[in-house]
């Protein structure tokens, strides 16, 4: 049985492309256990932003219809506070981490769920702040 997890934008994207057998296999196992996927409103925002920027209205409708069948976690005030602490701690340590990564990490920590991302390098600075974040990579 897999544990519930937060999928980051790159992994969700890889799964809907269906080109990466490793990601598809891990996603199949996860879906078998949990039925739907969980991601943050940051990911939804990034997907909408990118498709809007490219003027891809047809693809935007298509992906939104699918995303809505899954579980989107919206940031709450505590996530913003935690994200601010992460960002400040990282900066004191000499690293610049931006709000999206900090918010995603804060949500994952609050829900006590691992973050599934292929973007492990960017989250390394967040891990160095001492935050209790578990990271998985399905690639």
């Amino acid at each position: 049985m897999t544990v519930e997890a937060i999928l980051d934008t790159d992994i969700l994207s890889e799964y809907v492309k269906g080109h990466d057998a490793a990601v598809a296999g891990r996603a199949a196992g996860y879906a078998g256990d949990h039925g739907v996927f969980t991601f943050t409103s940051v990911t939804v925002c990034e997907i909408v932003y990118g498709l809007e920027l490219k003027g891809a209205s047809r693809q935007l409708s298509k992906v939104m219809a699918w995303l809505k069948q899954n579980e989107e976690i919206t940031s709450i005030d505590a996530d913003y506070l935690a994200a601010a602490t992460i960002k400040a701690t990282a900066r004191k340590q000499g690293s610049v981490v931006e709000l999206p990564d900090c918010l995603i990490a804060s949500i994952a920590v609050r829900l006590n769920q691992p973050l599934v991302t292929g973007n492990t390098e960017d989250f390394r600075a967040i891990l160095r702040t001492g935050v209790n974040l578990a990271i998985e990579n399905w690639r």
């Binding site: 934008t9 790159d10 994207s13 799964y15 809907v16 492309k17 269906g18 080109h19 598809a24 996603a27 199949a28 879906a31 078998g32 039925g35 739907v36 996927f37 990034e46 997907i47 932003y49 990118g50 498709l51 920027l53 490219k54 891809a56 693809q59 298509k62 992906v63 699918w66 069948q69 899954n70 900066r91 004191k92 000499g94 610049v96 931006e98 999206p100 990564d101 973007n119 960017d122």
Partner: protein
Amino acid sequence: MRLEGIIDKQADMTITLSPDQEQAVRAAIRAGRVASFEEFIDRALAYLPREDEALALSSPAARSVFEQGLGLFGGPEDAALLDEVVSIAYEERRRPSRRGPTL
């Protein structure tokens, strides 16, 4: 209308059609679309999904969220578009703040 046909070799089955159904069967025969009631039944049965298809259609897992999503952007154009979207997103995430740390 009462029509009798041998459904299987073990037992006959009597089918009672409603007036609308009877009218549809008679109209199909009259129009030459089928030659007989038996052919009408054969054609109707051919339209039914096979047992495995029916099972697949009735199963919630058949068109699960997973299956709907996997390959949703699998075409070359959509996949390339999504790669760009992720690239834009991660570029934004990595964009350094305009002011450096002044600590």
